[in-house]
């Protein structure tokens, strides 16, 4: 049988082992960087003392260097804290999937995991759908087509919202945004409380060039549901970062 607590422990060990090389690498880079800055600072200091005229200027620029160094340090900090957290046996259940995502955001400037939740699958989907067509044979496409047709018939018969969502996703992933819109709409009318379906519906709208309607939908849905995912998508549409 499953021993969850033992598994959790082993998982933690696995993650530490897995990220250990990154941790060492990160530390080395940090040290090298600090060393370089130190060298830079001392050489700047010596030149400053030899050039009396520019003395004040140089001294002003030195602290400036220190601050850039400090900001660089703070950017790298999250990944260190992340490893430390593991070593201290941080609460595992609550942190759940977040630790997996944190090491990379250490370099980028968009750390909040909530942002990552929604847009991410969409990105991987669109990448996949862009590469798919060349790989699969034409025979294969016919077969998949009959499969989706069968599912659509089943959806008509059962009106199962989860199936509707599945079909909507299927079409969205393949760039059939009108169909995706259509099935997400049907799904919403069967069950109006599925976050993902509203998200997919709005994303399809954007893809169909109806950005304003998408925003309005998301605003309304957010008012009703307080859905973080809806909010995140709305933000990314408004900032033009949604692709």
């Amino acid at each position: 049988m499953l021993n969850i607590h033992d598994l959790e422990r082993r998982w933690l060990r696995y993650k530490i082992k897995h990220y250990f090389p990154y941790f060492i690498g990160g530390t080395l880079i940090l040290l090298a960087f600090a060393g370089m800055m130190g060298w830079f600072a001392t050489s700047a200091g010596t030149s400053a003392s030899s050039q009396e005229a520019d003395n004040t200027h140089k001294q002003e620029s030195m602290p400036a260097d220190h601050t850039t160094m400090q900001t660089d340090r703070t950017i790298l900090e999250p990944s260190m804290r992340f490893v430390e957290a593991f070593q201290k046996n941080a609460p595992v259940v609550q942190t759940s999937s977040a630790p997996v995502l944190t090491p990379k955001p250490a370099i980028t400037t968009l750390p909040p995991p909530k942002m990552l939740q929604m847009p991410d699958p969409a990105q991987s989907h669109s990448v996949a759908s862009a590469t798919n067509p060349d790989k699969s044979l034409s025979i294969n496409r016919n077969e998949s087509k009959t499969d989706i047709e069968e599912l659509q018939i089943r959806f008509k018969e059962t009106s199962n919202a989860n199936l509707g969502l599945f079909i909507a996703k299927y079409h969205y992933d393949r760039g059939n945004y009108a169909e995706a819109y259509n099935y997400a709409l049907k799904t919403n009318s069967i069950n109006s409380r599925i976050d993902e379906s509203w998200i997919l519906f709005s994303k399809s709208l954007v893809k169909l060039g109806r950005t304003e309607q998408a925003k309005k939908t998301l605003q309304l849905y957010y008012q009703q549901s307080n859905s973080e995912a809806a909010k995140a998508l709305l933000n990314s549409i408004e900032h033009g970062t949604f692709k």
Binding site: L2, I4, L7, E8, R10, W11, R13, Y14, K15, K17, V93, S96, S97, P99, V100, D120, P121, S124, H125, A128, N132, K135, S136, L137, I139, N140, E143, S144, D147, L151, N160, N162, L163, L165, F166, K169, D173, D195, E196
Partner: protein, 270 residues
């Protein structure tokens, strides 16, 4: 147990059993299956299905058995009969309706086959042929050479050993098919179709390209390993469903739990 557990049904779907009714059409596999069926109709003497353990050879053979037996005489030996005399006796019984009390010799077997003029060469499917001795394999070869029986056999492909080079098959007129591990995309099709077939739509929605890639990385696209991993994963979900339901996210699989399931099944060491 939780009443109406959402994950118990998906879990039981991934028990590793082979049943023709559970066959799932995966593009590359059904393509191969079609060629396999065409080959059976050709005047070939032997057909070989090979590949690594867990790539779906037995499944394909069971499916072939299921489909062919609707229209013609076909006999399947799923568990190898390794005693030569027993093997020939069972075969004579099943395909020629002969029921000798004791084991029979090869010559006797060929005599029986010749005396009976069947409209078509009967088809015999042998699973796990790597378990037969080479002397029995040699007899199987002679039987197919005499066109008394047409064999479709499956073989493990062990790492070093090249089956094609095995002497039994070198001179024969035969065709061979190699089954391979699935790609991430194919594995996604496998998992989703299995879930959809059983009406587990909500759980099917939890699989996306990202977590399928993770699963494929752990199982290397092997169907049996994937079954094991998903069985463990849904067992985990069942546990959380009962003990800590708030931890479950319903829109996507948790990578952490996939990793935990991989640890549990020994796919990763920790």
């Amino acid at each position: 147990m939780v009443e109406n557990s959402l994950f118990a049904k998906p879990r039981d779907l991934f028990v590793d059993v082979v049943n023709a009714k559970d066959y799932i059409q995966i593009d590359s596999v059904s393509h191969m299956y079609q060629s396999l069926k065409n080959s059976v109709e050709k005047p070939l003497k032997m057909i070989l299905l090979y590949g690594k353990p867990g790539t779906g050879k037995s499944m394909l053979l069971h499916k072939l058995h299921y489909d062919l037996s609707k229209h013609q005489k076909v006999f399947m030996i799923g568990t190898p009969i390794v005693e030569e005399e027993d093997f020939l006796r069972v075969l004579a019984q099943q395909i020629f309706g002969h029921s000798p009390r004791d084991g029979i010799s090869l010559n006797r077997f060929l005599d029986i086959a010749q005396a009976l003029t069947l409209p078509d060469v009967p088809i015999v499917l042998l699973d796990e042929a790597q378990l037969y001795s080479s002397s029995l394999m040699e007899k199987i070869r002679l039987i197919s050479d005499a066109r008394a029986v047409k064999f479709v056999i499956t073989l493990h492909k062990t790492d070093k050993e090249d089956i094609i080079a095995k002497e039994h098959f070198q001179t024969r007129i035969w065709e061979s098919f190699e089954l391979k591990n699935a790609t991430a995309e194919e594995l996604k099709v496998y998992v989703q179709k299995k879930l959809l077939k059983a009406n587990c739509f909500d759980v099917a929605n939890m699989f996306n390209d990202k977590n399928m890639k993770l699963i494929t990385a752990f199982t290397r696209g092997n169907y049996r390993e994937t079954n094991k991993l998903l069985f463990a994963l849904f067992s985990l979900y069942c546990w959380y469903e009962e003990n800590h339901p708030a931890a479950i996210k319903y829109n996507a699989l948790k990578p952490k739990w996939v990793e935990m399931a991989a640890i549990h099944t020994g796919l990763i060491r920790a």
